[in-house]
Structure formats: structure tokens, C-alpha cells
């Protein structure tokens, strides 16, 4: 009945533009504006309803007519609530045509509407930087603490070697040592080959072909094999230690162990460290052999030095000290890798993202310290004239 009147009224006022929208339909009456809400007032239509209502600037009394709403959810009702409050601040507002479900939903949400803001946890760049610095300092102190504990555990091991889990050690020797053989064989063979292949060209210019043996033999046993082995082990086992211990920390397995009187240093860290200290020198020895085979192979291809020639020359020129220096580096690198891997694992906080961050840090730190330690060896041994 009133429809005819309304439409003609609208025509008169020229309200057409904003009138026939999808979710909101406005009708201007003499003393009020009727806001017909229609369709699905839900999560998915909320942005559209929001923009439709936002473009509406009322000028007099408002009447919400909710009778044409098909379905609603809390997002729809919350949106209604927001605009209803806005309108009420300026004009008189009436609501008609609502169902009892809509009313109860409104009341439920009204009851649970909270003024208090949710605290923001993200922070500015400056405070993040400051936090990072303090964090770094704390980490350093904790590392000292960790080193002290480990040293005590290590010394206690020599007093009561029976208490240590020898089965655990052999298990980790298998995991970190034995199963690393294939990848170490592959990398050291390739590096040995590349070394002699590259130098062959230069040496041939001087007719110094046979010095390839001196060059490859010394550089592989003294420097390359230990470094390559340590880097592969840091990537394989250091990261695994961090991830394992980190996951155990998140699931509170470490707390459970502590409360049962199982010292994590004794049960988790020392076995891993000792296993690496045993297996790394053996792996280096293995890498020595395969690396030299690689360079022998390249030498025979490129310079026509036969295998027996190569080995004869090797026995002549390769002093045992080079080999031993390479092997001796093993336990040092092992301690670094195991300590960093385990320390990083214990640094994991309660969220899963930190496992990733700590594992990355573990590998990066371990490789850096291995190289730094190698440089230190170099300086000291040169000073001593070895």
C-alpha cells in the first residue's frame, strides 16, 4: 500500500542512486528514513554491506526494517550493532521486523562486546633492535652457563664413566658417523678431483706435473678433508641435534626428564658430543682416503700420472704430521658442532617457528666457528713452525 507512495516520493527527491543496493534499501518517508536490510547478512557479505551503509548519511529519524533478512551470523549482527550505535548518537532510531533469534543474537553479542582493546604484541623497529641486543647478551651469558654445565658433566663422566649411556653413544655414532659416509665420500672425492684438475693446468705450464701429488696430498689431509667433513656433519647432525632437542623442549619432554632426575646434559648432550668426538676423526680419515683417490683419478686423466706413480710420490712427500694435524682437528670441530647444536636446541622457546630459527642459527654458527677454529689452528701451527 505505502509502496506506491514511497516510490513516488523517492522519485521526487531524486534519491535513486544509492537506493537499490544489494543488502540495504533506503526509503525516504516524510518524517523518517526506512533502512530495509535484506539478503544474507553474513561474514562474506559484510564488506559490501559495510560500504553500502557507510555511503548513507542520514538526516532524520531512522527506522531499521529487518524483515527481509534471509540469514545472518555474528558478523552481520555486529555490523548492524555498529551502525545502529552510530545512528543513535545523532538521531532517533527504531527497529522493526526482527525475529526473536535476531534479537537474542543481538543481546548475546551485546553482552560480549568489549571496549577494552586486545594488547598489541608486535613492536617497532627500535624496540625490536633493543630487544635483539639484550637477547644477544642473554644468549651469550647462557652459552657460558651451558659451557660450564657441560664441562662439569664431562668431568663427572671421567669420575663415573659407568653412569653414561654407552648405548646412546653408539647409536649416535651410527646416526652421525656411519650414515654420513656416502655423502662425505661423494663430496671429498669431488673436491679432490677438482683440486688436482684445476692445478694440473697451471703445473703443466711449468712442467712441474708431478708436484700435483705434493699439492693435493698436503692440502687434502691437512685442510680440506677436515673442513669438508666438519661442514657436512654440521649440516647433517648439528641441525638434527637442534631440531630434536628443540622439539623435546616444546613438548616438555626435557622438563619431564629433569623432574625424574635425568640430567639432560648427561642423557642428551654428552652422548651426542662424545659420539661426534669419536666419529669425526674417523670420518676425516675416510675423507682423506677418498679425497686423495679423487685427485689421483683426475691426475691420471689430465697429466697421465699413473696410480702407482702417484702413490710412490705421495709416500715420499706427504709427511705424517699433515695427516695427524687434520685428524687432531676432528675432536675440536666435533665439540664445537655438538655444543652449538645442543645449545641452540635448548634455546628453542615455546613456539614452533623458533625451531626453524634456531636450526638455521645452529648450522650457520657451527660452520662459522669451525672455520674460525681452523684459522686459529693455522696461525698457532705456523707460529710453532709445524
Amino acid at each position: 500500500m505505502s509502496r506506491v507512495v514511497i516510490i513516488s516520493l523517492c522519485d521526487v527527491i531524486g534519491y535513486n542512486g544509492a537506493m537499490n543496493q544489494t543488502y540495504v534499501h533506503l526509503e525516504e518517508l516524510a518524517d523518517s528514513i526506512v533502512v530495509h536490510a535484506k539478503g544474507d547478512w553474513t561474514l562474506y557479505s559484510e564488506p559490501q554491506i559495510n560500504s553500502e551503509l557507510a555511503s548513507f548519511h542520514p538526516s532524520k529519524k531512522i527506522v531499521w526494517d529487518l524483515s527481509k533478512i534471509n540469514s545472518f551470523d555474528s558478523a552481520g549482527v555486529l555490523l548492524f550493532m555498529r551502525f545502529d550505535e552510530q545512528f543513535r548518537a545523532k538521531f532517533e532510531v527504531d527497529v522493526i521486523g526482527y525475529t526473536s533469534e535476531q534479537q537474542r543474537m543481538y543481546e548475546l553479542l551485546k553482552k560480549h562486546s568489549v571496549k577494552e582493546a586486545i594488547p598489541e604484541r608486535s613492536e617497532g623497529m627500535l624496540s625490536a633492535l633493543g630487544k635483539r641486543a639484550v637477547e644477544g647478551y642473554r644468549e651469550f651469558l647462557e652459552f657460558l652457563d651451558f659451557t660450564g654445565y657441560l664441562l662439569v658433566a664431562f668431568l663427572r663422566y671421567f669420575v663415573h664413566p659407568k653412569n653414561l649411556r654407552h648405548k646412546e653413544i653408539t647409536y649416535h655414532i651410527e646416526r652421525s658417523g656411519l650414515s654420513a659416509l656416502p655423502i662425505i665420500a661423494l663430496t671429498s672425492f669431488l673436491v679432490g678431483m677438482v683440486i688436482s684438475y684445476q692445478s694440473a693446468v697451471e703445473l703443466a705450464k711449468f712442467g712441474a706435473d708431478v708436484f700435483i701429488v705434493d699439492l693435493a696430498g698436503i692440502s687434502i689431509t691437512r685442510e680440506l678433508a677436515p673442513l669438508i667433513t666438519a661442514i657436512v656433519v654440521a649440516g647433517r647432525s648439528g641441525s638434527a641435534y637442534t631440531a630434536q632437542i628443540g622439539a623435546m623442549k616444546i613438548t616438555e619432554e626435557i622438563s619431564a626428564m629433569r623432574t625424574m632426575g635425568f640430567d639432560p646434559f648427561y642423557f642428551l648432550i654428552l652422548p651426542r658430543m662424545l659420539a661426534l668426538m669419536i666419529s669425526l676423526p674417523l670420518l676425516i680419515f675416510f675423507a682423506d682416503i677418498i679425497g686423495i683417490m679423487g685427485s689421483m683419478f683426475a691426475a691420471s686423466l689430465e697429466l697421465n700420472i699413473s696410480y702407482s706413480q702417484f702413490i710412490d710420490r705421495l709416500q715420499e712427500v706427504l709427511a705424517a704430521k699433515h695427516f695427524w694435524i687434520g685428524i687432531i682437528k676432528g675432536p675440536f670441530f666435533a665439540v664445537l658442532i655438538a655444543m652449538i647444536g645442543c645449545f641452540r636446541g635448548l634455546q628453542v622457546t615455546d613456539d614452533t617457528e623458533s625451531i626453524g630459527a634456531q636450526t638455521t642459527a645452529s648450522v650457520v654458527n657451527a660452520i662459522f666457528f669451525v672455520i674460525a677454529c681452523d684459522a686459529l689452528f693455522s696461525v698457532i701451527l705456523t707460529e710453532w713452525g709445524i
Partner: protein
């Protein structure tokens, strides 16, 4: 009121261990349906089969008109937006705050602006009985009960038509548990949602659950309203419902209602 979930001859086994053997049940639209059974009877696994986290070894699982073993990827994705799930142990994302956990799907799947999302998140947090400042905490900073509540708020974020709850009231204090029951009832009435909940809570079984099934011996040994189930004389039903403690409580409630 059609059937919206139907398990037909479900078999679940891991190697030689058979968990479900020829299991059948059906859940009607708009009801609050309970799944009851001893620990290890396969309730969580059954739930996982309903939400496509696990494929049954054999049998058909129908959810909202789809047979889940043959559902195409796109339909599966749209199905996943229609339900909310509360996992037994919360399964909140540990690198996000509670508020960010609740907001995640809203942000990803709808065009709602930040201000309104905050409004929705705050309301949900309050509905499950948490205070606003909890929204800024990380899951590791919550207690067990708070994790349950936060996870429920996340399950409710999108106002799902179908709500799966795995032991929602375990880990809550008794008052919290009753408020929770009241909230579920209210939402069902207002939004017409269907709720599937695994529970051991006798109080919930008495007060909110319309129908439920009892899982034992790899089957559903009884299904229906509490009266229907009490007809059964399966040992588990006997033990669970017909012990002195439960009967005393039941009688007390009955008396209470008469007065």
C-alpha cells in the same frame, strides 16, 4: 531436518590393529550429537575421518552430501570452510597470538576490514569466557583450560554451520564447562548449527546432547537419545550410566526437575 553426516560400514585399521569394524552412525542437521566411549575406543579417529584428516580403510563417510573419499579438491576446500573444529589438545598456532589465531580465517577468506575483525575477535574471546588481554598472549603463555577456550573461539570464528568438538569440557572447571554447554545450546538455537562432540561429561550428556552414540568393541553399540541408550545392556553402557554415582546424580536431577 536431513541427515548431514553419515558413516556407512566404516573400517579403520593400522596394520593388524583394527580400531573400527563396520561402524555406522548418522547425524541430523541441527542436532547436538555426542560420541561417547572409553579412552582408546577410536572416537578421535572417527572425528578425524569426518573432517578428512584420515581416510577410513573401508566404508563411506558422507558429510553435507559429499562422500569424502571421492570428493574433488575444490569441493573439499569449500567444505573445510563450512566447519569449525576444536581439537582435543587445542592445536593453536604457536607462533600467533590468541587473537591472531582467531582472526586467521577471517583475514584469509573474507574481505572484512581490520576494525571489524577486531570486533569479531573480541566478541568471540569474551563468549568463550576469556578476558580481552588474553587475546594478546601466545599459546605457550596459556593454561590448559585457557587453550581449550581459545581453541573454541577459533573454531567459532567463521560462525560455522557444523562444529566438531573433541572433548571440549575436559580441562575446564565445572562452572566453565556449564557455561560452555549453555553457549553451545544458544548458538545452536540462534544459528541453527549442528554440533558433533566427543565427551565424557555426564552433565553435558544430560543437559545439552540430543542424541549420541556409544563406541565400544569397534562398533557403535548404542545410538539415540539418553533414554534409547539406557535400554542397551552392553557392559560399557552398564558401567558408565548404571553405576551408583551416575544413578544418584540422575535421580537427583529428576527430583530437582519435579520440584
Amino acid at each position: 531436518m536431513g541427515v548431514i553426516i553419515e558413516a556407512k560400514n566404516i573400517v579403520t585399521s593400522f596394520g593388524d590393529t583394527v580400531i573400527h569394524d563396520d561402524l555406522n552412525l548418522s547425524i541430523n542437521q541441527g542436532e547436538i550429537y555426542g560420541i561417547l566411549g572409553e579412552s582408546g575406543s577410536g572416537k578421535t579417529l572417527l572425528l578425524k575421518e569426518m573432517i578428512m584428516l584420515l581416510k577410513p580403510t573401508a566404508g563411506e563417510m558422507w558429510v553435507l552430501g559429499h562422500e569424502l573419499s571421492k570428493i574433488p579438491y575444490n569441493e573439499a576446500q569449500s567444505l573445510r570452510r563450512q566447519w569449525g573444529i576444536l581439537f582435543q589438545f587445542g592445536a593453536l598456532f604457536t607462533s600467533l597470538t590468541v587473537a591472531e589465531n582467531i582472526e586467521l580465517q577471517l583475514k584469509e577468506y573474507t574481505g572484512i576490514d581490520k576494525k571489524m575483525r577486531d570486533e569479531i575477535v573480541k566478541t568471540k574471546i569474551s563468549m568463550v569466557g576469556l578476558s580481552a588481554h588474553v587475546g594478546g598472549l601466545y599459546p605457550s603463555e596459556l593454561s590448559g583450560g585457557m587453550i581449550k577456550r581459545a581453541a573454541l573461539a577459533r573454531a567459532l570464528a567463521m560462525d560455522p554451520k557444523l562444529l566438531f568438538l573433541d572433548e571440549p569440557t575436559s580441562g575446564l572447571d565445572p562452572i566453565g564447562a556449564r557455561n560452555f554447554d549453555a553457549l553451545i545450546m544458544e548458538l545452536r538455537e540462534l544459528l541453527g548449527i549442528t554440533v558433533v562432540m566427543i565427551t565424557h561429561d555426564l552433565e553435558s550428556i544430560h543437559s545439552v546432547i540430543d542424541r549420541f552414540s556409544v563406541l565400544a568393541d569397534k562398533h557403535v553399540v548404542a545410538e539415540g537419545t539418553l533414554e534409547n541408550v539406557l535400554q542397551s545392556n552392553h557392559p560399557f553402557v552398564e558401567r558408565f550410566f548404571k553405576n551408583e554415582y551416575t544413578l544418584a546424580n540422575y535421580n537427583k536431577r529428576a527430583r530437582h526437575h519435579h520440584v
